[in-house]
């Protein structure tokens, strides 16, 4: 909120304040961006959903309204039309904008910790739970002693 206001103030100072009607951000995928070939377009959409708009906060270029996101979408489509494979397009984007653009982090190096965290934590949790349940089963109450049995009979009679 503050940051937004601050940004707005800066924009006004720099004389970049847009006329009221022009202030609308472009909206996600524009009709003129769509490729004629539906299969290429589908691939473009799938790739876009995995690429981060680098000036936005946690938005993919597929859903972002920023101008830069539009540029990035166009680049993706350009590469696809040029015949690049999906991997090649992603690599192209990474070369250009850095690893930061990948919304699905690569499974290499330290990122293995991230990707393996779920299974490892699950195994730990299950192991811990099984150990605890076993232990609990083991210290089930001992059978009553003669004395206790006699006392119980007495109580029952009352």
């Amino acid at each position: 909120m503050r940051a937004m206001l601050r940004a707005l103030v800066i924009a006004v100072i720099l004389g970049l304040a847009l006329p009221v009607m022009g202030a609308f951000p472009a909206q996600a995928v524009q009709p003129d961006e769509i490729l004629d070939d539906p299969s290429l377009e589908a691939r473009a959409r799938a790739l876009s959903a995995n690429l981060r708009c680098v000036v936005c906060q946690n938005e993919s270029i597929d859903e972002s309204n920023a101008d830069l996101a539009r540029d990035m979408r166009l680049v993706v489509r350009e590469r696809l039309v040029a015949g690049d494979s999906d991997e090649a397009v992603m690599q192209f984007m990474v070369d250009r904008y850095g690893e930061f653009v990948l919304l699905s982090p690569r499974r290499d190096g330290v990122n293995i910790i991230l990707w393996a965290s779920g299974p490892i934590l699950l195994l730990l949790g299950l192991g811990f739970a099984i150990a605890a349940i076993r232990r609990r089963g083991a210290d089930a109450p001992e059978p009553l002693s003669e004395e206790e049995r006699a006392r119980l009979k007495e109580i029952m009679r009352e």
């Binding site: 524009q30 946690n58 190096g109 965290s117 089963g137 089930a140």
Partner: protein
Amino acid sequence: MIVELGHYALILAFAIALVQTVVPLVGAHKGWAEWMAAANPMATAQFVLVAFAFGALTWAFVTSDFSVQLVVNHSHTLKPMIYKISGVWGNHEGSLLLWVLTLTLFGACAAWFGANLPATLQARVLGVQSSIAAAFMAFTIFTSNPFERTAFAPFDGRDLNPLLQDPGLAFHPPFLYLGYVGLSMAFSFAVAALIEGRIDGAWGRWVRPWTLAAWVFLTLGIALGSYWAYYELGWGGFWFWDPVENASLIPWLFATALLHSAIVVEKRETLKAWTVLLAILGFGFSLLGTFIVRSGLLTSVHAFATDPDRGIWLLAIFAGFMSVALILFALRGAALEAKGVFATISRETALVLNNVLLAVSGFVVFVGTMWPLVAEMVFGRVLSVGPPFFNAAFTPFFVALAIILPVGAVLSWKRGNVWKAARGMWGIGVLALAVGALVWVMQTGGSMLAPMGVVLGIWVVLGALADLWMRSGRGAITGRLRRMARLPRADWGKATAHAGLGVVIFAIATMLGWQSEDIRVAREGQSFEHGAYTLTLEEVRRVQGPNYTSTMGFVTVTRNGRHVADLRPERRIYPAAGMPTTEAGIDYGFTRDVYVTLGDPQEGGGWALRSYIRPFATWLWAGSLMMALGGLLSLSDRRYRIAAGARAGSAPARAAPSPAE
């Protein structure tokens, strides 16, 4: 003047909170009854004072008192009254005051309704709760004073962020706060029990309603936020795995685990240490969530009032409370010995499994949320963790949960038999798989997502119904139905909430699997087909709203020539804040939503127009509401309405009263 009085009341409340942190704890330690009893009036006084302070701030907003800096920054005279009021908490300072208000309200409730708690436990709970309130009051007063005046009062304010001027968002934050802060109660009970060194069924019976209430509010808050995203952000997404969303999801997951494990403490007096740990972690993650939202540590769409100095304060509060609680747990946790024993196959084990899955899924979301930070600071890798990761890493846990839920829910306590429990479930399982297979065959291509959602949805919903049915005994159908109606509300609550989860799973999977999208340039008067529907952009007009101007599209939807709906997608601009928003035109339906948004005017004439058909979208909100309703039903169960902790009751099978009393 009223504003100054509010400020003064807050400072006074802070002083009382400090005293209330010390006096009852010392009293409980020394066994001084007067010192313990002093906590009750102090808790009430804190609440009354903070309520007055909050009222004073609300007054400043309602009367548009532009000599108050906060009102200048977040209000405007032309704004509708409801948003003037919601503006009170639509900002950092005011929302903190709301946070403090709910903290003291919950504290006061423990004072008002806690007469049947052991005196030392009540005193300790109030002491711990008050220490949390004191920390947040200090934070508010010293770094984020909402009552600050400005030297030169302007004629008008700068308006509330237009995105927040929406009924959904007006009530989304208070619900979330009630949820976060409700977990503080579970935390206070956990820490008090650790100090006390003892936990029994009565403790569980006390903690569960607080956790349930917190969970209901969290569920509603998250659902409202998600619904808001759906209709406001313009393309119908409902969950983005944004750090701030995760910050609310993680406490929800832990609260869900906690309210399940608290049942085990209440009924079987076991899993005590684990439940206490969950209570501590649940509140810990809600503190961490607050920290994430307000510190600007993680960039997010809705991180507001990002300010590193405030972040340090919150981090200190978080670290302080968590380290004290966890050290106490390490020292005393082992002393919370379990009474009940249970076999490997039992309801207890099923609930342990539920807890493991929920807690691990919570940790995974946490790891994913924090990973970009860790990777950059420790390993020097600048990267992002987005929806593809979370979808892949989180979903399996909920699939597993949904698979074990119906069987686990009907297993016997103490010693169960999976095959016996599953006997009534075979039919449902086969039916679910059969319908899923049918759906898979009928859908042309597409992913496995929707068929899997159908299978799980049917399995969980019918499983919940079967649970009720199996509890209705034997005999004629009418007799069983009558007995079913007389089952305790807790049983109905359980079935409703579980069925709600099934509906949510079904809705998410089918919506994502089957939605269709159309993006095109439409001229005024032009029609086009989308799925079974014909959409016509009749015209686009400028419309003046109370504090905005709107470009409104008039779209008619027909099906086979029959009129279905008139939609009014809008693009609004709020001149005071200089911000545009989009308002989708949505025709809500039982089996599908037709969703239209208006885009830019195009150079060659016409407008960019997007339309979506989203199957079963309403089911997502209906399912969330069912979950919350289930929580409410459970909360209204007889055993909570009659004095909690009293032993008279509906469960003759309960363990004998503990001799330690």
